[in-house]
Amino acid sequence: MIITGKHLPRRTFLRGVGAAIALPMLDAMRPAFAAGTAAGPVRLAFTYIPNGATMKEWTPTAFGKDYALTRILKPLEPFRNDFNILTGLAHKNANALGDGGGDHARAGACFLTGVHPKKTDGADISVGISTDQIVAQALSGKTRFASLELGCEDTRTVGNCDTGYSCAYTNSISWRSESTPLPPETNPRMVFERLFGAEDLSLDPETRARRQASRRSILDMARGQTERIMGKLGPADQRKIDEYLTAVREIEKRIESAENQQKQVNPGMEKPAGVPMEFSEYLKLMFDLQVVAFQTDMTRVATLMVGREGSVRTYPEIGVPDPHHPTSHHRNLAEQIEKITKINVFHAGLFAYFLGKLKATKDGDGTLLDNSMIVYGSAIADGNRHTHEDLPILVAGRGGGKLQPGRHIQYATETPVTNLYLSLLDHMGVQPEKIGDSTGKLSYLAEL
């Protein structure tokens, strides 16, 4: 995309609006963390798919190691020894529990929090802190970015998102606190610039240092101003200004750690130009960015929303020109169910690309996939009836040896998904007492 002089090389032309080209990983890439350590750190990622799945095409019939992959999971065949399918898990707090309609908003908000979100269109939004953020806050300072929130659907929405629920609940699955959602970055270029700096490297080091010092001085002033007005504010304003203050402190910390980390990180990929036109290219690029962020140890925690809950994305490229959400209300019509299944298969195929990429990337003595724990799934099982039990959930990777993948495991009905999260966090060395509705750790993840 970058052209020198007036010569415009045809081969690097972009297709479509801000489309990007495929980005091979460079061999020159090296993990940025402690070279020489045998085992890389454990990484945690969540990939969320909206509107549920055709469960009879998801859930294998047999259990244990020798199960046959179903139609939806078939694209994951090359990695069947790298993930566990977990059947029986539930998000009971995504149910109405007296709040009426709005299952999509609740599912999205509940997926990583395990908390029943407060039904409100705006004032006093409240759910819980999300699992990824519990880890992010615990590991804060270990990596340049505590966490990464990505999405493949522009969150610009209009009107109400889901019956009486603020759009905040469907726009983000990551929640920094019970009232502060972390909106996903949907532009690959922005993700790249955030990770590897949009800074003008053509400037001389002294100028860059002076600018950095300036940034620190104005952040310092902003913090002072904020602390002075805090006391004069009512509770609602205080909450808002507190978000600001927290952000100021976090960035101050980051600037400091960037200064300590003198070396320039080589991302090993070209800067994406923008959002690719083809959805598959888009999602792959987002997966690439996650891989690079993990590989360079910019962060160890990431979430990716393939779509917002209630997504109306159409998939004409796979023969589903119909909007996803209305189609998911399939009324048990075979034709409609088939379309949903096609979308599920399509997403799984792209997720397989992610796993392949992780597996092909060396990390410590093993691969990045070995050192990762990737949860893939939805907080809705059947999109037609909005069920929140027997959810489609799988967890890939070995968690640095803590997980024993390759199996289909059946759990007691309505085992909270948050029990899984509690176990995964334990493998990251983070032991919260509880996550949302968790009742204890999930067994059988490690044993055969």
């Binding site: 972009l14 939004i125 009486g164 007005i229 037609n384």
Partner: protein, 848 residues
């Protein structure tokens, strides 16, 4: 246009501001209030509740945490309006009592819910006035872009790269919902740096890049007629239009790649390139096969979004005579041999033999359009529908740049910032920094600033100089500090209030705060110098001054923001950006059409505001704004070119918002129309009667098999036999069916599939209509509802909070008062900005 507005504002009798405020306050103190009817409660309501609700909602079970049994007196009901509003809503929607419990008799249920609502109203009359609380509002993306533009005179839309803003109550201006994650502050830091540096030192050099645009359709369909088509070619699918963001004032290179064939012996073709509505370049290309042909040109373009189009001028002119097109070619047609057809013309695989050149041209003109049976071996299997290619098509457009960009700072920007008057670097004198920084802080914080605040900024600049920055660089650092300050990024209204304010006290907001409310309401931007000046003098709240400011602000070009941001969200046309109608079914839909749809509605709303028309025009105005593309789409003759103009719609089925393709598209699914969605759209946005959410476990009524098995209408009528569904769908569906003559992208149709359209209907209140025109008459009769809807949405957008029970009186009052002008837009706006909620806030104890 402005004159009419001016007149209205001048001749409306001036009523002191206190009227609205005073009315509400006095009604609270003096309105006679009857005591609640305890007899009715004990005799009718409580027994009903005992039978229906207390089984679960009692002190022991407390289903959903609610104990209704605890409410033992009539008075206690209204004291917990939250609980009982929910109860009424759930009983009415049929959610409660939940199946399988028996449904209470409809009339009993009505008696009880009506009684409860009366209680609310009685309590409302008793309650004191309540202006509500507005949580500190962070600038949203549109506001940030506009504010930076107006403060610094640089317009590069930095916030387009910010994370999306969350919305609530249908708008992205809600303080409670606008959060500030760390990633956003990072962006604020970068944006502040770029904005200040661009303004003071000029834009940074940008590396040239090249972006390619391609049409969705590989092979566009032929035109409907060779004699009546868009001579500019812009409306034809062979053209390509795209919005492109030009990052700088600079030169750009445009490469146009062509494809397609043209019958041998045709005259050369003219390719035209357009930027916005202006034709900037034409090329002549000659030859039967255009594949691989490329033309290119360079042009200087200003920074920002521009619509770039490439088309073929008069592309069906100059064809060989036998095609019957206009101005036939004077060139001889080459004799060629075709497989299986001897000397047949280049009818491509699939066209039927050509008409005799002697035949009348009109008939011949129809020839290439009919999908014909293959006369020779088809290139594609049956149904492939290949047609004669009569002209080229644009295969791709590459836009590369910026080259030789303007890198000098704009003098406008420097003047805005360097108020000391020393525009040449190095000319500054002692004390300049103080002047510059205090002026900018006042404008950026939108209020008078304290000495301490200026001292701090001056100190920041001084420290930067100590680090080795030069004078202007050091001022730039402090300016960046202003732009990341919470006083700039947030509109905090109570920071200056006394800390011991009692809860619920009525506190007038300051003149400066009012100025900000006004400017972010009408302009989505910061107050300008005049508004700040008036606020500083303390006269903004005087009715005559307020009215004059409102008039001035609406006449300003910046008021376009009200159309884009309020209109775009209220009417949901912002969603146009992301709709993806099924390509197979709606091949006409491309980005040019999408853009044209959006413009129509924006210009229509702008006309309504500028010319101060009644909001009822929204329903049935017999005019709109069209360009050729949209006019052809609407089948309206006589509109040529890319530019939009006002068009009379008399004699067409169009008129009013409900027939705008934008509205019809955003209220449809990608593959088909949905009377339910459209009915809901009308109820929410026009009639101010949003339907309650569908009860849980009852999937929303689906209408997927439209036009295939039974008519949609029949299916839905069956669905409505369920009483719970019927309660809402009998309101929604008829409204939506009235629009069935418009397909899912708003094109006119007489049939859906094989079924003729029936757009008649009957509303639950008994009024019936034969078609959309008759429905519009009914809606116009309900104009008070429309005015209420507009008022309520404007209040949510302007105040940045949802509407509550206590706002109802104000809304009612505004609607009543604006009825004297037949709900002219400016009178609604004026009543809003002088109302109590807009000028006051409720006190709140701080947590010191």
């Amino acid at each position: 246009m402005v004159n009419r507005l001016t007149k209205l504002l001048r001749f409306t009798p001036v009523v002191p501001l206190v009227w609205v405020l005073g009315q509400v306050i006095s009604s609270g103190q003096t309105a006679p209030a009857k005591p609640p009817s305890d007899t009715a409660f004990q005799k009718e309501v409580r027994p009903f509740l005992t039978n229906t609700c207390f089984g679960c909602h009692n002190a022991k079970v407390r289903s959903a945490g609610i104990d209704l049994q605890a409410f033992t007196t009539a008075e206690s009901i209204a004291k917990d309006a939250g609980t009982w509003e929910l109860a009424v809503r759930k009983m009415r929607s049929g959610e409660m009592p939940p199946p399988p419990l028996p449904r209470p008799k409809a009339e009993d249920l009505a008696t009880v819910t009506d009684w409860i609502e009366q209680e609310f109203e009685r309590a409302d009359r008793l309650a004191g006035p309540n202006p509500g609380r507005v949580t500190a509002r962070r600038l949203n993306r549109a506001e940030y872009n506009n504010t930076i533009r107006d403060l610094l005179g640089v317009d590069f839309r930095p916030a387009d790269d910010f994370p999306q803003d969350d919305s609530g109550y249908g708008f992205d201006t809600i303080g409670d919902v606008l959060s500030l994650p760390p990633v956003l502050l990072e962006k604020y830091l970068t944006a502040a740096e770029t904005a200040v540096r661009t303004a003071l030192f000029g834009p940074a050099a940008i590396k040239p890049t090249m972006i390619r645009y391609q049409p969705h359709l590989r092979r566009p369909p032929p035109p409907p007629s060779l004699t009546d088509y868009d001579f500019t070619g812009l409306s034809l699918p062979s053209a390509l239009s795209t919005k492109h963001r030009f990052p700088a004032d600079a030169e750009y290179v445009f490469k146009i790649q062509l494809n397609g064939q043209r019958p041998g012996g045709s005259e050369p073709l003219k390719v035209a390139a357009w930027i916005d509505a202006e034709q900037v370049k034409t090329f002549e290309v000659d030859g039967a096969d255009l594949e691989g042909m490329t033309v290119e040109f360079k042009s200087k373009v200003t920074a920002g979004d521009h619509l770039v189009s490439v088309s073929f001028l008069k592309q069906f002119h100059g064809l060989p005579t036998r095609f019957g097109g206009p101005e036939p070619s004077k060139r001889p047609e080459p004799a060629r041999r075709f497989p299986g057809g001897g000397g047949a013309p280049p009818a491509a695989a699939g066209a039927k033999p050509p008409a005799d050149p002697a035949k009348p041209p009109v008939e011949a003109a129809k020839l290439p359009i009919e999908p014909a049976k293959p006369a020779v071996a088809p290139a594609k299997p049956a149904g492939g529908n290949r047609q004669v290619s009569l002209a080229g098509r644009v295969n791709a457009l590459d836009i590369g740049g910026p080259f030789e960009p303007v890198l000098a700072p704009s003098q406008v920007s420097r003047k805005k910032i360097l108020v000391c008057g020393h525009l040449e670097p190095g000319a500054h004198v002692e004390g300049c920094d103080r002047k510059i920084l205090s002026a900018m802080a006042r404008r950026a914080y939108r209020r008078a600033i304290t000495r301490a605040e200026v001292d701090e900024l001056v100190a920041i600049a001084a420290k930067a100089r100590q680090r080795g920055e030069n004078y202007e660089e050091s001022v730039a650092v402090a300016l960046q500090g202003i732009l990341i300050s919470p006083h700039f990024l947030f509109r905090i209204e109570r920071a200056s209030a006394p800390t011991s304010t009692a809860n619920n006290a009525l506190i007038p907001i300051s003149n400066f705060e009012l100025a900000s409310r006004l400017s972010y309401f009408l302009w989505s931007s910061t107050p300008d110098d005049e508004l700040l000046h008036v606020a500083e003098r303390g006269t903004l709240k005087q009715p005559a001054v307020l009215r004059a400011q409102l008039r001035r602000m609406l006449a300003d070009d910046k008021a376009r923001a009200l159309v884009e941001n309020f209109g775009g969200q209220w009417l949901q046309i912002r969603a146009l950006e992301s709709v993806k109608p099924d390509w197979e079914k709606f091949e006409q839909f491309d980005d040019y059409l999408r853009e044209s749809m959006r413009r129509e509605t924006e210009l229509f709303l702008q006309d309504l505001i500028r010319n101060d028309r009644s909001v009822t025009d929204l329903l049935d105005a017999k005019y709109t704004y069209l360009n050729e593309r949209l006019a052809r789409f609407y089948d309206i003759k006589g509109v040529e070119g890319q530019g939009f103009r006002k068009v009379d719609l008399t004699g067409t089925p169009r008129g009013g918002l409900l027939t705008h393709a934008s509205v019809l598209t955003v209220s449809s699914y990608a593959t088909r129309t949905s009377p339910v969605l459209r009915g809901k759209w009308i109820l929410e946005n026009i009639l101010n009667a949003p339907p309650p959410p569908a009860p849980p476990d009852v999937p929303a009524l689906e209408d997927a098999t439209v036009g295939t098995t039974a008519t949609l209408r029949e299916q839905m009528e069956k669905h409505r036999s369920n009483a719970v569904c019927a309660s809402c769908h009998s309101r929604m569906d008829p409204l939506g069916f009235a629009l069935e003559n418009f397909d899912a992208i708003g094109a006119w149709r007489d049939k859906d599939g094989k079924f003729p359209i029936d757009s008649s209907g009957k509303l639950p209140d008994g009024r019936s209509f034969k078609n959309l025109d008759e429905l519009k008459v009914i809606l116009r009769a309900d104009k008070e509802e429309l005015a209420t809807a507009v008022t309520e949405k404007l209040m949510i957008f302007g105040l940045g909070r949802g509407m509550e029970r206590y706002d109802r009186r104000t809304i009612k009052e505004i609607v009543k008062r604006s009825s004297s002008t037949d709900y002219k837009f400016s009178s609604i706006l004026y009543e809003i900005v002088r109302s109590m909620p807009f000028q006051m806030r409720k006190g709140e104890k701080s947590r010191t």
